[in-house]
Every structure is written in C-alpha cells, then in structure tokens.
C-alpha cells in the first residue's frame, strides 16, 4: 500500500502520469510534512490487516514472523562491488 493510499487526506498534488506528460505541479511551500509525520507513515504497515493497529501492535506482529534482532546502531549498509548471482 502506497502513502497515497495510506494517508487520511492525500493531496495528490504531484501526479507521476502528469509529470510524464510534461505537466508540472504548482509550487506549494505549505506542503512540507514534519519528521514525525514521516516516521509515523513509515512505521504504519500497508498490510490490510494491520492498517488500524498501533505502531507497537503492528511491530509486535511483524516481529513475530520476521526477526527478533535488536535496533541498529547505525545504517552501515554492508555493500561491496560483488553482484548477487
């Protein structure tokens, strides 16, 4: 589920289809969300059965089926030049 579908009142100001057709959006300096809203949307799962749960409830359910690992200390992404086969 995309943010456009998850948000209670999506503005839909910037259409991907319109951009491909060369139609640019209007500048809207009031459109900027705050960091709290970004985190809130990131932590809200798009799985239909979980959309109405709290962050803690949904995280508990997903951890039950994914992992028990602890929080990262940084985003150090292990990368190298070797490509997956």
């Amino acid at each position: 589920m995309s943010w456009w579908e998850k948000l209670d009142s999506p503005t839909g100001e910037v259409s991907i289809a319109a951009l491909f057709e060369g139609r640019l959006p209007e500048t809207n300096l009031g459109a900027a969300p705050d960091l709290g809203a970004v985190i809130d949307n990131l932590l809200r799962p798009g799985f239909p059965a979980m959309t109405s749960l709290t962050h803690e409830q949904s995280a508990d359910r997903m951890r039950a089926t994914s992992t028990t690992s602890r929080a990262p200390t940084s985003a150090a992404s292990p990368t190298s030049a070797t490509s997956p086969k």
Partner: protein, 207 residues
Amino acid sequence: MIKHLVASLARSVASAVTYKTLASDVRAVAPSIDEETISNYVRLLMRLFVVEAQQPWTPALRSRARVRTSPKLHLVDPALSAAALGAGVEHLRGDLNTLGMLFESAVVHDLTVLGSAMGGEVSHYRDSNQKEIDAVITLPDGRWGAVEVKLGGQQVAAGAQSLTSAIAQIDTSGVGDPAFRLVVTGTGPVVVADDGTVTAPLSALAP
C-alpha cells in the same frame, strides 16, 4: 535462520547488498551456510513477495564509465524493515541514517505502485564514477523519469545537483532526455525549480 536473513536484508534495504554479505551475517546462527544457499532463500522470499529486487538501469553512457549491474533489494514494506530492526519512533528520530534508508525504500515502493498504473518499471542507476540515480521510472514507450530521494527538505539542492550530474553521464541519443527530474523528500515542500526539476514530499505523490 530466516529471521536473521530478514534482519540482514532490513539493514541493507536500498543498497546493493551482496549474497556474500548476507551469508556473513547469517553465519552468526548458521555457521556453515554458503552464498548459494542464501541466494536460494532470497529467491524464495521474492517468490513469497517478501523481498523485491530493484533492477539496475543500464543505458549507454557518454564516458568510459561502467554501469553497475547489482540489483538493490528491498523488503516489501518499510514497516517490516523497521520491525525487523526493532526500530521504533525514538530509534528512528535518533538514527537519521537508518531513517533515510527506510525512507528511500518507501519511495521506491511507492514509485513502483504509482508507476505500475502506466505499465512503468522502477530501476536504479549507478556507475563506476559513483554517479547514481535512486530510481528510474521507465515506461513501455521508452519515456523515462529520474528520481532522487532526500529525507530532508534542506537537501533538495544537493539532490537536484546529483541528478544533473548523473544524467550528464548518460548517452541520451539512445534513450532520449528524461521526461522529468524529481527530488522526493520526506519533509520538503512542492517546488518547481527554474530548470524544471520538481521537488515534492512523498506524501504529495499520486498516480
């Protein structure tokens, strides 16, 4: 073992992680596991729609730079990545690197959804000159759009410059100029720059 693999994938979302790295992580609980077994598990997770691969875009280049061909791997929902990492609100507020990584994965996910309405596919571009485009949306008719992801609205100028620099590497005689250049932010406004580059928060995007 699968839990450790998912956690390792979560630590690496939006990056070109290797099976070697994943195997190294998983050996903490499965010491004898090899890269081939890891690749089989990743393919299984893809078939189960838990993992999605963002394939590389490989246009001809103007220079002698080489296009990197590693896919980026994403968990299907950034909230799943956060849960796998045990990262809640306070953790993410205090670790903007991880937040940025998860945000980029969210943007790629949403562009995939929004672009699919036009039959579009989302790939990424990276070359040996370290030029990068976080997401390239290509349509069946050949049109393409270039997207840079920046969590903070104050990073928009850097994002636009990065896009310009990467696009300059590409031989547009074959693929044409991009239909648009878009910087997707977490906390920025909607702005159209003089050169036509559009900046928009993820929350403002629509099909």
